[in-house]
């Protein structure tokens, strides 16, 4: 597997780096060359805070190749505080405790190990917000 395919999106996956559209002002995640809201080009990078809530979730029991060591796991749509939805796994949580509306925060975790040479891909997952 070509490594460039992964480091290209590293900033997005490690730092939750997205964009703000210079034309319509809307937050964009993941980043794109053309704003998905107004289709104009021209955005400023912005780092999202990593807090949000569970918008929906499903439990994966038949994981695809590369992810089987983690199953069963929970995938979710997360609504970030700044507005955008994203797709991510939940971690550090009992599957039976997951609820729509549950506050979550981003953490960096291993997403998968790929191929015989064992390339490890890291990225964002979300866990329940720890009570301060």
């Amino acid at each position: 597997m070509n490594v460039a395919r992964y480091w290209r999106t590293e900033k997005t996956r490690y730092g939750l780096v997205g964009e703000t559209c210079r034309v319509c002002g809307k937050p964009i995640f993941p980043p794109r060359d053309l704003c998905p809201h107004c289709t104009e080009a021209g955005q400023d990078l912005r780092t999202f805070g990593g807090r949000g809530e569970v918008y929906s979730f499903a439990h994966v029991t038949d994981a695809p190749a590369g992810y089987t060591e983690y199953q069963p796991y929970t995938v979710a749509l997360i609504k970030l505080e700044e507005g955008p939805l994203l797709t991510a796994q939940l971690t550090d949580v009992d599957q039976s405790d997951v609820r729509i509306g549950m506050p979550v925060e981003m953490v960096t975790r291993k997403l998968k190990e790929e191929g015989e040479n064992g390339m490890v891909v890291y990225g964002y997952k979300f866990r329940p917000v720890m009570h301060e």
Binding site: S56, F57, A58, V60, T68, Q89
Partner: protein, 382 residues
């Protein structure tokens, strides 16, 4: 633009074809469609398929099937639009004939999933999602449908058991389709007991991946009666796309592409949803059946399961769906399903649907790619 008719149909049984290869299945369906039509030549072949490269190490399908199907020299391509690949092939065939470029065109959908193990075919099916921002997170197609279903249950306060009618209807109708993969009925009680495959998606919410091929032969409507006693007219053909990733859609519970393609089709045919007498929809998951019905104007938002519970979509209900078993019971040979839908509506409009025959002159098909990022709608008249 010329009017276009279907003058030949062909389909293989849907299931696990250990003895037959991808090319065997496709050629069977193509030959059946040619025989059925009595056409003497074929000008072009469009092959709908999603995963031949991944699962059978075979691309260049158009040429392979023109060659093995006895159409050597014919213009031929594969077209891919995830689960909607077969419907895309029908639409390209329609455009080729309507435009006047070709007179006799075959659209063939084929998928061979059992040449790979289930883990590989499930993983490959996920390639229809956004690889960098969905696939990368370890999602599966059933779990993507699960995200929609869970949110739907939450927003519209619908419990899981309310989705039972979609599977019950599909299985009831599959019983009388000799080509269907599952030919046994299920009850609401067995639906409620089914094990989870991607909670909240249960085994009875999802259609089985399997092997199969179906084909239609199209020609200009003005020539159709020379070849076929009961040609079926394509009154509308329309396609639309939505944001590929579910998280990028304005409202994940509204299938915008399904609505757009249906509206375009209604406009082209000059009909309303109430004129549609049967609807072969994309029930790869019961939640997609509900969302498709709502997007196409057969149910208000959040009300599809209630209407289904009242019998509106039963074989003799207001708008019958899945009349030959749908994806759930006939089976879902991914890139072939869109052509099976068109073949099945054609059977109904010709009066060849056997025990499941309904009285109908106008039928609709809608095929979705993935969880609705592509939607292709056809309206047929017999």
């Amino acid at each position: 633009m010329r009017e276009v008719s279907i003058i030949g149909i062909g389909q293989t049984d849907v299931g696990e074809h250990w003895e037959r290869s991808l090319r065997d299945l496709a050629v069977d369906a193509m030959i059946a469609a040619i025989k059925d039509s009595h056409a003497e030549r074929v000008d072009a072949l469009y092959v709908g398929n999603m995963l031949s490269g991944e699962l059978t190490a075979q691309e260049h399908l158009g040429t392979l099937l023109a060659d093995w199907g006895g159409l050597g020299g014919t213009e031929a391509y594969k077209v891919e639009a995830a689960d909607a690949s077969g419907a895309a092939a029908v639409r390209l065939g329609y455009l080729a004939v309507a435009s006047g470029v070709h007179d006799f065109v075959i659209a063939c959908g084929v998928e061979k999933t059992t040449d790979a193990d289930a883990e590989t075919s499930n993983a490959s099916w996920t390639y229809g999602t956004d690889a960098e921002y969905e696939g990368n997170q370890g999602v599966t197609v059933p779990s993507m449908a699960g995200l929609l279903m869970r949110r739907y249950m939450h927003e519209f306060e619908v419990t899981h058991d309310r989705f039972a009618p979609f599977s019950v209807i599909a299985h009831a109708n599959g019983v009388n389709n000799p080509h269907a993969m599952y030919r046994s009925p299920i009850s609401a009680e067995s639906y409620a007991r089914a094990g989870m495959i991607a909670d909240p998606i249960s085994m009875f919410d999802g259609a089985p991946l399997c092997d199969g091929a179906a084909a239609v032969l199209l020609c200009p409507a003005e020539l159709a009666r020379r070849f076929c006693a009961r040609p079926v007219r394509i009154r509308a053909s329309a396609a639309a796309t939505d944001r590929l990733a579910v998280h990028s859609r304005n409202d994940p519970l509204f299938l915008q592409a399904a609505q757009l393609s249906a509206q375009r089709a209604y406009l082209q045919a000059g009909v309303a949803p109430s004129d549609v007498e049967l609807f072969e929809l994309h029930d790869a998951f019961s939640i997609l059946a509900a969302l498709s019905l709502e997007a196409c104007g057969f149910a208000e938002r959040g009300k599809a399961t209630a209407l289904a519970g009242e019998g509106a979509f039963d074989l003799h209900g207001r708008t019958p769906i899945c009349t030959m078993g749908g994806l759930k019971a006939r089976g879902h040979p991914i890139g072939a399903s869109g052509v099976y839908q068109v073949v099945e509506v054609t059977q109904q409009l010709r009066g060849e649907a056997g025990a499941n025959q309904i009285e109908a002159h106008l039928g609709m098909t809608q095929s979705l790619g993935g969880t609705g990022a592509t939607a292709i709608t056809h309206i047929l008249e017999g």
